[in-house]
Symmetry: C2
Subunit: 331 residues, 2 copies
């Protein structure tokens, strides 16, 4: 009698096969694997289990900044430069389908597709609509897939508007913040946010006006961290101006992290934050469903609705109930 | 011997006194109380306990939309119109100190301060930097304070960029989305987000160009909900054009909610979401601290760092550990 696998076993076997094709650098397998990661189902866990031991080799780069600063073109040119240096490059473009910027990246992404034809470049986009924590997690696992597939460099491109995008843009070895002259408010606001996350700053579109003032403003807000003073570079992406210097700076920063033994520590810190987030997110999803089945939840909600109990006291009581929930149904 | 209150009792007594002054409509007490809410300490709970039974009377309005659509001026004019109708108005302006829009509202807020001189208007701003969930919670409780202080109308002004701002802008009876002609991408993106949250739409700055196309685009994306078709209004805020119609529409919507018995149900839904969020946020804060003290946490983190365990399997194990944490320290 032939062995008849259950659907679960068959899925596991298929995921195992997919993983081994990803590890060989198969682009079609990579595409399927990323879709599994995005889907967030149980196969995701098996997949990550298989490929995780083979990660940690790629140098990972986050590229972020306001909309309209020309990040995609800059990423295009950086890919070309990395190709000249013989590196395999994986790109993950986060497409911000938020009310304010939705769809803006689509054209950019299509322009990037020239590179997809090459064997040593893999480009993928991911929508940022929907569940916030889920995106950061999917992005981290996609970086892992690209890494395990043998990419030497993995670039994640985001628009730095929201908490998630910043989270994604900093889940990497090096974060590049792209700005441009004449940003006005954005440059003012720069000091409030971007200056903390950038390891390298770029003033792109440096040909539209004299960028000296913008560069000065940025440089004066930048602080040295662990012996690295983030450089402020000037680029004109469509012409490729300054792109060699940008890739040089990235490689220099990579070496700096290795030589100082900082890369490990930074990885561990990111891992710590990631595990906390993932575990609490999963816990809360499960516990919220169980809580909604509890009599005490309906009772408390009713009391607050009738103003017999205030929301803050109610939250305190619910915290205790959550702590005592177990896996057994007790509605 | 005189009774010597412990600091805790004294704080409770002070908060009790503050609450009773808030309930009498004392603006200085209101200012202090909002600061306590913003601070997020234990006094917050006592304060909300005291004032919560006296809430639910104010009609609460969220005003949101992209930066630069003139929301603050529109709010100014709406305040004037409400004052003419004899209503007391409380305003909470969320100041988005995000990298992309930081500080932009400061000028607007200062311009609004004319109204602060009046006894029947109270205006307060709140920074949106930092903890995301915390802001939504502080905003909800600030709305409660303004409500309990006797305001007939409470307006919350946000910039609708992020998840939090949308959360805040919809924690109210009526949500007004403010757009303008020539928004281009924003109007395109409109269909992706704002159209779901608005009860009333406003095309402000209707004098800069013919707004007909913008109005048509919005109106064609708007859907009837429970028998209410969100109107699309035209305003020129600095001149006050269309402001009477906006306040009329808000009052009409308020009546609609009452007459259909929808207000209660909407409140209960908001309360349900709020209690879930608050309880899980508090639970996770406490549990994360306890988890960090657990041997098993350090063990798992170490295994993942050494690639002996993958992050997804680790998250699964941590979920089980979180479920078993209790209040007793066991590092």
């Amino acid at each position: 009698m032939k062995y008849a696998p259950t659907p679960f076993c068959r899925d596991r076997a298929l995921v195992g096969e997919l993983a081994s094709r990803v590890l060989k650098g198969d682009h079609r397998a990579l595409g399927k694997a990323i879709s599994i990661i995005e889907g967030g189902g149980p196969a995701r866990r098996k997949l990550i289990q298989e490929i995780y031991p083979r990660t940690g080799n790629a140098f990972t780069i986050g590229i972020t900044g306001p909309t309209g600063t020309g990040k995609s073109t800059l990423v295009n040119k950086a890919i070309e430069e990395y190709r000249k240096r013989g590196r395999k490059v994986g790109v993950l473009a986060i497409d911000p389908s938020s009310p304010l910027t939705g769809g803006a990246l689509l054209g950019d992404r299509l322009r990037m597709m020239d590179h997809s034809l090459e064997r040593e470049v893999y480009i993928r986009s991911m929508a940022s609509r929907g569940d916030v924590g889920g995106l950061a997690r999917a992005a981290r696992n996609t970086i892992r897939l690209l890494d395990a597939a043998g990419m030497d460099v993995v670039i994640v491109e985001t628009v730095g508007a929201g908490q998630t995008e910043v989270q994604v843009a900093t889940a990497v070895d090096a974060t590049v913040v792209v700005l441009m002259p004449q940003l006005g408010d954005e440059i003012q606001a720069f000091k409030a946010g971007f200056n903390e996350i950038g390891d390298i700053f770029v003033v792109n579109k440096a040909d539209i006006t004299n960028p000296a003032k913008t560069i000065f403003n940025i440089a004066s807000g930048v602080e040295e961290k662990n012996g690295w003073r983030p450089p402020v570079l000037k680029t004109v992406a469509p012409k490729g101006t300054g792109v060699v210097a940008l890739v040089d700076a990235l490689e220099k920063f990579g070496k700096f992290l290795e030589e100082r033994g900082l890369r490990e520590g930074r990885m561990r810190q990111r891992l710590e934050a990631e595990l906390m987030e993932a575990a609490f997110s999963d816990f809360c999803d499960e516990a919220a469903n169980r809580l909604k089945g509890e009599k005490s939840w309906r009772l408390i909600l009713g009391q607050v609705s009738k103003k017999e109990l205030d929301p803050e006291t109610a939250a305190g009581r619910l915290v205790k109930i959550i702590g005592k929930l177990d896996g057994t149904p007790n509605a």
